[in-house]
């Protein structure tokens, strides 16, 4: 085994040389997670808003459900979806198993509770008079909702970023229902797992660096957003 420093240098060289295999993995990773977030976010925010602002029987049960879904291991989500999507499963006819669509579905399932729980916190803390003001000035419900989301935009953006961080780095679900097929469903985490098991550390480290940089960037973004939302009004 080469020394860690020379492997890391190899990794950086690999990244900047534009290695097509490496970059295809990075592109797949980002495109599936982006799709999942774009699909999950609007629905999750509506659910978060309803749970945060309405009082109805079963509200607390639903809130606890989403909170407990936060800590469900990704492999368990993968297992469930595998059963549902496999050829003999109820959705087997859709032939989705081992496709990028299956990965997007898995990531939506994983991102949804994070988005709901974090947006719920924002909506709960929101000034009720924001909603009332929009409504009393004649805004229909949908416009009042958009106005409210705009007022809460920093907190909601932080929710999206946190959810994105959860799904881009998870390996269990993507591995089980994506299948780690090169140029189709091999994303950064599954590739790292594979390359490491093959002893190809430089590619693993290169991909790890991409993830680390992204995690750093996302955390800085969340911190900045939280600071902006704390500015006294």
């Amino acid at each position: 085994m080469q020394s860690l420093s020379s492997t890391t240098l190899d990794a950086i060289r690999l990244l900047f040389s534009g290695d097509p295999e490496l970059w295809s993995i990075i592109v797949i990773s980002f495109s599936t997670t982006l799709k999942a977030i774009l699909i999950a976010t609007p629905i999750a925010f509506v659910v978060g808003c309803l749970l945060g602002m309405l009082r109805f029987p079963g509200r607390w049960a639903l809130i606890s459900l989403f909170n407990s879904l936060l800590s469900v291991p990704t492999v368990v989500v993968g297992l469930l979806l595998y059963i549902l999507l496999s050829r003999s499963g109820p959705f087997g006819d859709l032939r989705l198993l081992f496709t990028d669509t299956a990965m997007v579905i898995g990531q939506i399932v994983l991102a949804f509770p994070v988005l709901v729980a974090m947006s719920l916190a924002s909506f709960k803390a929101a000034d009720r008079s924001a909603w009332e003001t929009a409504r009393t000035l004649g805004a229909p419900t949908w416009r009042a909702f958009i106005t409210l989301m705009f007022e809460l935009r920093y907190g909601l953006a932080a929710a999206s970023i946190a959810a994105y961080g959860r799904i881009i780095s998870e390996v269990g679900c993507s591995m089980m229902i994506g299948g780690n097929i090169l140029n189709h469903t091999r994303n950064i985490p599954t590739a790292i797992a594979l390359e490491t098991s093959k002893g190809e550390f430089s590619q693993g480290i290169a991909l790890g660096l991409v993830l680390l940089l992204m995690a750093l960037g996302l955390n800085i973004a969340i911190t900045l957003l939280q600071r902006r939302s704390e500015v006294p009004s």
């Binding site: 000034d127 008079s129 924001a130 009332e132 003001t133 929009a134 409504r135 009393t136 000035l137 004649g138 805004a139 229909p140 416009r143 106005t147 705009f150 007022e151 009004s233």
Partner: protein, 259 residues
């Protein structure tokens, strides 16, 4: 308590048209506690009503129910003689506008706030109306300022301009001058007086109203969840009417001097 309308049908009756807003048998509870029991309440076009009562008496709740922002447990509501469904009542915004004690201004400029309710107008019409509203409220110099950075008094005036620009039929103001310094209070009262002089129907709640009584034709006092009426224009009319003497409670002299 306005338990019946008989005094309206008497010779002193000044209102013959259908009321702007009429409420019958309104009830509202929080948990097991009954907050409001209002048999009948009518608000007429061009009428300025002062709503008094101690803190927690249900003034805000009543105003919010009238504005369609909060649900009542029971009761029916008529608007210009037409009974509204719950859905219609919820969408009464723009015609009946509720103003919060602490106004919420949207993130953005004062101009943007004032133009918020004018989405049906095109850009030019909207900026013209906003300009008029800024002039009306004397806030032209603040047009570009971010609304979140204004003082409490300025925020209240922006909220009044934002409501005025919609040409509402009824304004429900929740303690608009509470916790204000004298100058802001004077400026806010100036705008409220202006609204009344323009013939807008308003209902203004206060637990410590020290403004001039001549502003209002009518005072409603909430006590123990029930409304008690006093008309300033014809203070003796209530006592002349035997049907209402037992149910209409005039504020005592001590109380009036506090108002």
């Amino acid at each position: 308590m306005i338990s019946n309308n008989t005094h309206r049908e008497g010779p002193m009756n000044a209102y013959v048209s259908a009321p702007l807003l009429g409420v019958q048998q309104l009830k509202k509870s929080y948990g097991n506690q009954r907050l409001l029991t209002i048999d009948s309440l009518e608000l007429h076009a061009g009428e300025a009503t002062l709503l008094t009562g101690r803190n927690g008496a249900g003034k805000s709740t009543l105003l919010k129910i009238l504005a369609g922002l909060e649900k009542s447990d029971s009761g029916s509501l008529r608007y210009r003689g037409v009974t509204l469904t719950r859905r219609q009542h919820r969408n009464i915004g723009g015609k009946v506008i509720y103003l919060h004690q602490q106004p919420f201004l949207f993130d953005g400029s004062v101009e943007k706030n004032i133009g918020y309710g004018l989405s049906q107008l095109n850009r030019d019409q909207r900026s013209e109306r906003v300009r008029q509203a800024l002039q009306w409220s004397g806030l032209t110099h603040l047009a570009e300022r971010n609304a979140k950075t204004l003082s409490g008094g300025e925020k209240q005036r922006v909220a009044l301009a934002r409501a005025w620009v919609m040409e509402p039929e009824l304004l429900l103001m929740d303690e608009p001058t509470t916790n204000m310094d004298t100058e802001s209070r004077q400026q806010t009262l100036f705008l409220i007086r202006r609204l009344i002089n323009e013939g807008k129907s308003i209902m203004l709640s206060s637990h410590e109203f020290k403004g001039d009584h001549k502003l209002f034709q009518r005072q409603l006092h909430i006590e123990a969840g029930q409304l008690h009426e006093q008309r300033f224009e014809q203070p003796i009319s209530l006592s002349l009417n035997p049907a209402s003497t037992h149910c209409a409670r005039k504020p005592s002299h001590d109380q009036r001097s506090q108002l």
